[in-house]
C-alpha cells in the first residue's frame, strides 16, 4: 500500500481523484485553496477557477446533471455567495455525485468572520461529513460521492483550518472504475425547479433526511471508542483529536457525519454516562440537537464558542485552571503583523490615498493590509465586492465636498468576483465616487491564483485576459484611466484629478504582483542608503516597506537602512526621498 504525508486539502484532491471526479470548480479562499491547486496533477479531472463561488457551484451542478462526478470547493464565506444555487440543488438532487468541500476558519487565521458552516447543512437539509485528519479527508471524500448518489443529494464535506493545512500520513488507493458515461437526459420534474415541480420535491428532501439519520447509525464513520467507561464525549472533526489528548480515558462517540445526526446511536451511547460532554468548535451545533433529544450534556458552558480549540484550551476548560508554562516573558513583546511585500504594487496607491486624505471603502485582498500603519488608508472592509456598493451608499448622504473624498479600492480578482455588480449600480444610479482597481493580474492574497484577468487558467493554459478598461466602459463609466503605481507622483496626480471629478471614474493601477507564478517579475538590484545624505526625516518609512529599517545615528535622529535581502529594487523609496539618499550600490 502506498503511503504519503498529505495535508487535508491534498487528501481531498486525492480522494476526488480516486472517486473518479470529472469536473472540479472553485474560487480560491484560505484555507480551502490547495484543494483545486492539487487537482491539476490528476489528468482525469477538469479543474478550473471560477470567478466566484456561485459560478463554481453552478459549474459543478451542470456536470452532475450530465452524470459526471463533480467537486466544488470554497472557504466558509464562499458558501454565502453560493447559497442560492445550493438551497435549490438540495431539492433537485444530483445525477453524478456532487460534493461541496467547505473549509471553515475558527480563530479567523485568514478570514473576516468565523461562521460555522455546519449550520448550512441543516439549513439546506443536506448531509455533511467532517474529517478529523488527512486519512479521513481522503476516505470521507470517497464516501461522500457514494452517499451523494445513493441518497440523491449534494453532500457537504467540512474541514477547518487545522484539518485543511495539517499534514498527516495517509494510504492511497486506486481510482474507482465502472462509473457511468456522461449523458444528456431530460428530466424536467427533477431539474426544473418552478413551484409546481419544487413543491413535489420538498417532501422527498424531508424523507431523505430521515432515511439518512437511520442509515448513519450503522455506518463505520460514526464510531464508539470504549476506554474506561466513566466519562462520555460526543465529538467530531479536529475536536476529536484534542478530546483524545485531554481525556485519554474517556469513551468517545466520534461522528464522521455531523448532519444529520445518528439519533439512536447517540441515545444508546448517552445512556451509559453520568457525565457526558459535547466537544465542538464554534457553534453549539451538536449540543443543541442532542439537548433537543432530551439528553443532558455539558458543552458550551465549558468550552468557548469563539475561536478554535487546542489541546491546552480543552484541558483548561475541563479543569477550570489555567495551564502553567515553565517560561513566561517578563516584558511586552513587539507584535509582527503581516505587511505588503517589498515591491508590492499596491503600496504607492495607499501612500497616495493617505496623503490625499481619502475616505477609502475597502475590500478583501492583499491590499486590505493598506489599513495598517503607516499607510493607514482603508476605512471599511466587509466582504468581497462590498467596496463599490459601500462607496455608493455613503456618497448618497454626503455634501459634494465630502463625496469627493470617497474612494472605493478593489483588487482585480475581487472586482470580477462581485465588484462589477456594484459598479453597474454606481453608474446606473448616478453616484459620483472614484473606484480604484488594483490590477496585479493575480489573486495574490490566497497564494497567487489565476483569474479571468490573468491570461492563464488553473491548468496553466493561455486564455483570454479580460480587458478591464473596456469592461468598465461597457457598463457606462466615461472616465477610465490606467496608471503605473511604481510611478508615485503620476499615480497621485491621477487619483487627485479623478477624486475631484463629480462623476463616476475608474482608475486602474496596473502592475504585476512580484510573485506571479507564470512569467515572474525579475528582482532588480537592491537599493542602499547614503547615510551622509539621509537626514532622518522618515519620509521613506511612510511607505511601510519591510525592507526599510531604522538605525540609530550619531546625530540622534536615526537613519534609514535598506535590508538587501528583502529589497527588490522597486524604487518607491527613491521617489519619496527629498534628499536623494537612496541609490543602487555599485558593488
Amino acid at each position: 500500500m502506498k503511503r504519503a504525508i498529505l495535508s487535508g486539502n491534498e487528501a481531498i484532491a486525492r480522494g476526488a481523484y480516486e472517486a473518479g471526479v470529472r469536473v472540479a470548480s472553485a474560487y480560491p479562499g484560505t484555507p480551502s485553496t490547495e484543494i483545486l491547486e492539487n487537482m491539476v496533477q490528476y489528468p482525469t479531472i477538469d479543474a478550473s477557477w471560477a470567478p466566484n463561488e456561485k459560478v463554481a457551484l453552478e459549474v459543478g451542478i451542470g456536470a452532475s446533471f450530465g452524470d459526471g462526478r463533480a467537486l466544488v470547493a470554497m472557504k466558509h464565506v464562499g458558501v454565502n455567495v453560493a447559497a442560492d444555487p445550493l438551497f435549490t440543488l438540495s431539492y433537485t438532487g444530483v445525477k453524478g455525485g456532487l460534493v461541496l468541500a467547505v473549509a471553515d476558519d475558527p480563530e479567523l487565521h485568514s478570514s473576516q468572520n468565523e461562521q460555522d458552516s455546519r449550520n448550512y447543512a441543516k439549513f439546506a437539509k443536506i448531509p455533511m461529513f467532517e474529517p478529523a485528519d488527512s486519512q479521513e479527508a481522503l476516505t470521507f471524500t470517497r464516501i461522500a460521492f457514494e452517499t451523494s448518489e445513493q441518497f440523491d443529494t449534494p453532500v457537504m464535506l467540512r474541514t477547518t483550518t487545522r484539518i485543511s493545512h495539517s499534514k498527516s500520513v495517509v494510504s492511497l488507493q486506486e481510482q474507482v472504475t465502472g462509473l457511468p458515461e456522461p449523458s444528456l437526459e431530460k428530466n424536467p420534474a427533477k431539474f426544473v425547479m418552478l413551484p409546481s415541480n419544487a413543491r413535489k420535491r420538498h417532501p422527498l428532501v424531508e424523507e431523505r433526511l430521515l432515511k439518512m439519520e437511520e442509515w448513519a447509525c450503522q455506518q463505520p464513520f460514526n464510531r464508539v471508542e470504549k476506554v474506561a467507561g466513566k466519562i462520555g464525549v460526543i465529538t467530531a472533526g479536529v475536536s476529536y483529536q484534542y478530546a483524545r489528548e485531554a481525556l485519554p480515558d474517556a469513551d468517545i462517540l466520534k461522528l464522521g457525519l455531523v448532519y444529520p445526526l445518528p439519533k439512536q446511536l447517540i441515545r444508546d451511547f448517552a445512556a451509559n454516562y453520568d457525565t457526558l460532554y459535547v466537544i465542538e468548535e464554534l457553534d453549539l451545533f451538536i449540543e443543541e440537537q442532542v439537548r433537543a433529544m432530551g439528553i443532558e450534556v455539558k458543552g458550551k458552558e465549558v468550552f468557548s464558542i469563539c475561536g478554535e480549540l487546542t489541546p491546552g484550551r480543552v484541558e483548561q476548560s475541563l479543569s477550570g485552571k489555567p495551564s502553567e508554562a515553565y517560561f513566561s516573558h517578563s516584558e511586552p513583546l513587539p507584535s509582527r503583523p503581516p505587511s505588503m511585500c517589498p515591491g508590492c504594487p499596491h503600496r504607492s496607491v495607499f501612500h497616495s490615498l493617505n496623503r490625499l486624505k481619502a475616505f477609502v471603502t475597502g475590500d478583501i485582498g492583499c491590499y486590505t493590509l493598506g489599513f495598517m500603519e503607516p499607510l493607514a488608508a482603508m476605512d471599511t472592509c466587509i466582504c468581497m465586492g462590498a467596496s463599490i456598493g459601500n462607496a455608493t451608499g455613503l456618497s448618497k448622504l454626503l455634501s459634494a465636498e465630502n463625496q469627493r473624498k470617497v474612494v472605493a479600492v478593489i483588487g482585480d480578482s475581487t472586482f470580477l468576483h462581485t465588484g462589477i455588480n456594484g459598479l453597474m449600480d454606481m453608474v446606473y444610479n448616478s453616484s459620483a465616487s472614484t473606484v480604484v482597481i488594483l490590477d496585479n493580474r493575480i489573486t495574490a492574497m490566497t497564494g497567487r491564483q489565476e483569474n479571468p484577468a490573468s491570461g492563464y487558467t488553473l491548468m496553466g493554459a493561455d486564455s483570454y485576459r479580460i480587458d478591464l478598461e473596456q469592461l468598465c466602459r461597457a457598463v457606462g463609466v466615461k472616465h477610465v484611466q490606467v496608471v503605473d503605481p511604481y510611478k508615485v507622483e503620476a499615480t497621485r496626480k491621477v487619483l487627485k484629478q479623478e477624486m475631484e471629478r463629480a462623476e463616476v471614474s475608474v482608475v486602474i493601477a496596473r502592475r504585476a504582483c512580484m510573485l506571479v507564478k507564470r512569467d515572474p517579475v525579475a528582482r532588480k538590484p537592491a537599493f542602499t542608503v547614503d547615510s551622509d545624505r539621509c537626514t532622518g526625516c522618515r519620509a521613506c518609512l511612510k511607505l511601510g516597506c519591510p525592507a526599510i529599517e531604522w538605525r540609530s545615528s550619531a546625530a540622534g535622529k536615526g537613519v534609514a537602512h535598506i535590508n538587501g535581502l528583502f529589497c527588490v529594487g522597486c524604487g518607491l523609496c527613491q521617489q519619496v526621498c527629498s534628499f536623494d539618499a537612496m541609490g543602487v550600490s555599485n558593488d
Binding site: R3, I5, T30, P31, H109, S110, D133, T161, R162, H165, S166, K167, S168, V169, V238, Q241, Y242, R244, E245, T310, P311, G312, E315, S323, E324, A325, Y326, F327, S328, H329, E331, P332, L333, P334, S335, R336, P337, P338, S339, M340, C341, C366, L369, M372, E373, P374, T446, G447, L541, G544, P546, I548, E549, W550, N563, L565
Partner: protein, 192 residues
C-alpha cells in the same frame, strides 16, 4: 506501552523558508516509519508575519497542535520569534536559534521596542541552547538563501534519524538547480 510523542516547534518570519524546512522534516520522519503530524497556518501569516510550524511524531499522534508547554525542541529562524515561542517549550527542552534580528514594522516605526539580549535570556532559561550563525554558514554554502537548510541541518542532530533518510529526502524535495548548495548548507548545520 507508553506512546512517546516528540514535539518540534519551528518559528520565524513569513518568507524565511519555514514551510519548506518543516515539509522536509516531516517527510524524513515518515520515511523513518513514524506516525507524523505537521501543522501551520498559511495565509495572512506569510506576508512577513510570525509563522509557527508544529511537527509531532511517534507511534500514534492525535492532535497536530503541540499541547501548550510541551515542545521538546524549538528551532527559531529569528531571535524575537524564538523568544516569543519559549512559553511553548517544556522545562529542559532544547532551543536552537538563528542569530538574526528582523525588525517588525512597529519597531521600525518606533512604536514598540525590540527586546535586548535575547540569546542570553534564552540560555538562562534553557541551558541546552544553541546559537546558529545561519547567514554566515549559508554564505559559506554558496547562497545566503539556504539559511533554512543550515538550520534544518542543525536540528537534524536533535532527531535520532539516519543520515541517509535526510539525504534522500533533500534529493527528492529540493529543486535540482539548488541541490548542491542545499546539501552543503545542510551538512554545515549538521556538523555544528
Amino acid at each position: 506501552m507508553t506512546n512517546q510523542v516528540t514535539n518540534i516547534l519551528i518559528s520565524g518570519v513569513g518568507g524565511q523558508g519555514i514551510l519548506l524546512a518543516s515539509e522536509i522534516l516531516s517527510e524524513v520522519l515518515m520515511l523513518a516509519g513514524f506516525d507524523v503530524k505537521k501543522n501551520e497556518i498559511h495565509g495572512m501569516s506569510q506576508r512577513g508575519g510570525s509563522v509557527v510550524s508544529h511537527i509531532r511524531y511517534g507511534k500514534k499522534v492525535y492532535s497536530s497542535i503541540i499541547p501548550e508547554g510541551q515542545a521538546d525542541v524549538l528551532l527559531g529562524f529569528e531571535l524575537l520569534e524564538t523568544y516569543r515561542c519559549l512559553p511553548l517549550v517544556r522545562q529542559g527542552g532544547s532551543v536552537l536559534t538563528n542569530n538574526l534580528q528582523i525588525f517588525p514594522p512597529p519597531v521600525t516605526l518606533g512604536k514598540e521596542t525590540y527586546p535586548e539580549d535575547i540569546p542570553a535570556k534564552i540560555s538562562a532559561a534553557f541551558p541546552d541552547t544553541t546559537l546558529v550563525d545561519g547567514l554566515r554558514l549559508a554564505a559559506e554554502a554558496g547562497n545566503p538563501r539556504t539559511v533554512n537548510t543550515v538550520l534544518l541541518g542543525a536540528l537534524s542532530k536533535r532527531v535520532d534519524i539516519d543520515d541517509t533518510c535526510w539525504q534522500q529526502t533533500l534529493q527528492k524535495m529540493v529543486p535540482k538547480k539548488y541541490l548542491e548548495e542545499n546539501i552543503k548548507a545542510f551538512n554545515l548545520g549538521r556538523s555544528l
